[in-house]
């Protein structure tokens, strides 16, 4: 498809990473989680439950292709191949179409488990702000889901909502958070919680000459407000952690924390070794991590047989 714009403001950069300190050949159980969401896809590979490699990519129009794309990208800087996987679990909206997975598990379960690994056992409430949905999850200290609430019908409070806004205001989506705090005075209220109606309001504000950063602040506040509704319905039990793409938008996160009067867990690994080594902490890989950990647990408990081919 030909690109009509030089810069696409909603197109956040795709990334991948391989752990330089792990030699997978010396590992016992190599498990993978492939999370194919409606907007982004991630593959996470773990060696004996330790983070070995991951990728974060944009989901295309075809789920199996997207699963291959993110998996190949996660492995491209390593000599590990899919044939070396002992077990792979697919999750996310496109989980029924993950060709390299031996089975699937719901993304709710995977995100809770992944958040538990990333943020630690004190986490009782996980907010996953995804591409096209927003989930609030209560879990126990092992990351098991106790209760959840979800909004997947309305774009307000989702990544797509933020992408639509970035496109409208012509600012790269990853700059919106920081810039929303570079304001001199409090922004005007955006009364619509509907992304589409908010779009019209924003156009009006732009025409009136309201500074861009203020408009970004107003939109982040509107989104935070929408998410607060979901969280208050479920109830926030501390500690509280955020996963998913919008966790990277401090404009939304800080305003959300103010509204619910609770701070979210620091975006860094619970594991002190991982923290000390400064391993990258990508909130979008929580689902993939959970899936890879479930794969390991199933092998260890004899509930699954190794599918390794090489």
């Amino acid at each position: 498809m030909a690109e009509t714009k030089a810069v696409e403001f909603w197109r956040w950069p795709e990334t991948s990473w391989v752990n330089p300190d792990i030699d997978w050949q010396k590992g016992q159980l190599i498990t993978a989680g492939v999370d194919v969401g409606s907007v982004s896809s991630q593959t996470v590979v773990m060696v004996d439950g330790k983070l070995y490699a991951y990728s974060n990519t944009r989901t295309g129009s075809d789920s199996p292709d997207s699963a291959w794309k993110c998996t190949n990208m996660a492995l491209e800087k390593s000599d590990l191949t899919v044939d070396n996987f002992d077990y792979c679990i697919g999750t996310g909206y496109g989980r029924v179409n993950v060709p390299m997975a031996q089975q699937t598990i719901t993304e709710i379960a995977c995100h809770a488990r992944g958040a538990n690994f990333m943020y630690g056992p004190e986490i009782k409430t996980v907010l996953d702000m995804g591409g096209q949905d927003c989930k609030a999850i209560h879990c126990d200290d092992r990351g098991k889901v106790l209760k959840f609430m979800m909004n997947d019908k309305c774009a307000a409070g989702t990544g797509r909502g933020m992408e639509v806004f970035a496109d409208l205001i012509q600012i790269p989506v990853w700059e919106i958070g920081p810039r929303s705090f570079q304001i001199e005075k409090e922004p005007p209220d955006i009364s619509s919680t509907c992304v589409i109606f908010a779009k019209t309001e924003v156009i009006g504000l732009l025409e009136e000459g309201v500074p861009e950063n203020e408009i970004m602040a107003a939109y982040c506040a509107a989104m935070a407000h929408r998410i607060t509704e979901l969280l208050n319905r479920l109830g926030v039990e501390e500690k509280f952690a955020i996963t998913g793409g919008i966790a990277k938008n401090i404009g939304v996160v800080k305003r959300l924390e103010e509204e619910i009067k609770t701070k979210s867990a620091e975006a860094n690994w619970y594991d002190p070794d991982m923290r000390d080594k400064g391993l990258p902490f990508d909130t979008q890989i929580a689902g993939g991590i959970g899936a890879a950990l479930f794969a390991k647990a199933m092998l260890e408990r004899g509930k699954a047989k190794s599918a390794r081919k090489a």
């Binding site: 409606s38 609430m149 997947d152 019908k153 774009a155 797509r160 509907c194 109606f197």
Partner: protein, 275 residues
């Protein structure tokens, strides 16, 4: 007596000049950001068309979400009241009105005398409004009128899962990739919005005769979907998007300069519980 009605909608302004009960001139155009100016502009246009000056008009009544910005008007009545007055004049047998404009979807139950008995409105979510249709037409890369006709040529119904216009756009793109024909997608779009309008309408109860007005009434694809959704016949008067303005003009001729209506605002329940 010459009176005027000004309907300042979320998307468009419609103005009518009425002389002894008959529309003698009308004008329409985009509301845009500067609502007061748009209202003035299209009122002036209608006056010009009728060959009249402002002084020739006895009374002006405004309506619509931006109606209060028409400061030159002598009065303002609620949309539902304007719709009721306009529809009962054109279709005396009307008992249920469905009005879908650019940014709102309404259902009104009226009495034989044209009084509003019940009123439900969706004004918070673009998915039950003309904006949804416009957004999907953009995703299909065809003009709205063409999408409407294409929908009539569809031979099967594909369910559309998205309830949100933003997600709907992605869903349309994905349906195109799945090689679903644009005709079938067009029908799915109209079926989807007809379903939502249907639920708003059922809140006030569907009593014959059903009359549909507002800009979306001109969409043949939507009207086909709506009749199938409701399982009832739906009457559409000529110039359905002018009926609100006509109703405001009728209020003007009756000397009614103020009329509010209590609304049941439909909240989109989007939060699901799970275990």
């Amino acid at each position: 007596m010459i009176v005027a009605g000004i309907d300042v909608g979320g998307k468009n302004v419609h103005t009518v000049i009425v002389s002894d009960g008959n529309i003698i001139a009308k004008a329409e155009g985009p509301t845009g950001i500067k609502k007061a100016e748009a209202a003035e502009q299209f009122y002036n246009e209608a006056l010009k068309q009728a060959g009249l000056k402002r002084e020739d008009v006895e009374r002006v009544v405004a309506t619509g979400s931006g109606g209060k910005r028409a400061t030159f008007a002598d009065g303002y009545i609620a949309d539902a009241a304007a719709d009721a007055r306009g529809v009962i004049r054109l279709v005396p047998s009307a008992r249920t009105i469905i009005d879908v404009g650019g940014e709102e979807g309404r259902a009104i139950k009226i009495s034989a005398e044209g009084k509003v008995l019940d009123f439900a409105v969706n004004e918070k979510c673009a998915a039950g409004t003309g904006t949804f249709v416009d957004t999907m037409a953009r995703a299909l890369e065809v003009p709205v009128e063409e999408m409407a006709k294409m929908s009539l040529q569809s031979t099967r119904s594909i369910p559309m899962n998205a309830q949100c216009a933003v997600f709907g756009e992605s869903e349309v793109v994905s349906l195109i990739h799945q090689k679903i024909t644009k005709h079938d997608i067009a029908r799915a779009v109209h079926d989807a919005i007809a379903g939502r309008i249907g639920s708003v309408a059922r809140i006030v109860g569907l009593e014959n005769d059903l009359v549909m007005i507002g800009g979306v009434a001109k969409n043949v694809g939507f009207m086909d979907s709506l009749k199938r959704e409701l399982g009832m016949n739906v009457v559409t008067p000529d110039d359905p998007d002018y009926v609100g303005a006509l109703g405001a003009a009728i209020a003007a001729s009756a000397g009614v300069l103020e009329e509010e209506v209590k609304a049941k605002v439909v909240e989109k329940e989007t939060i699901e519980e799970g275990k």
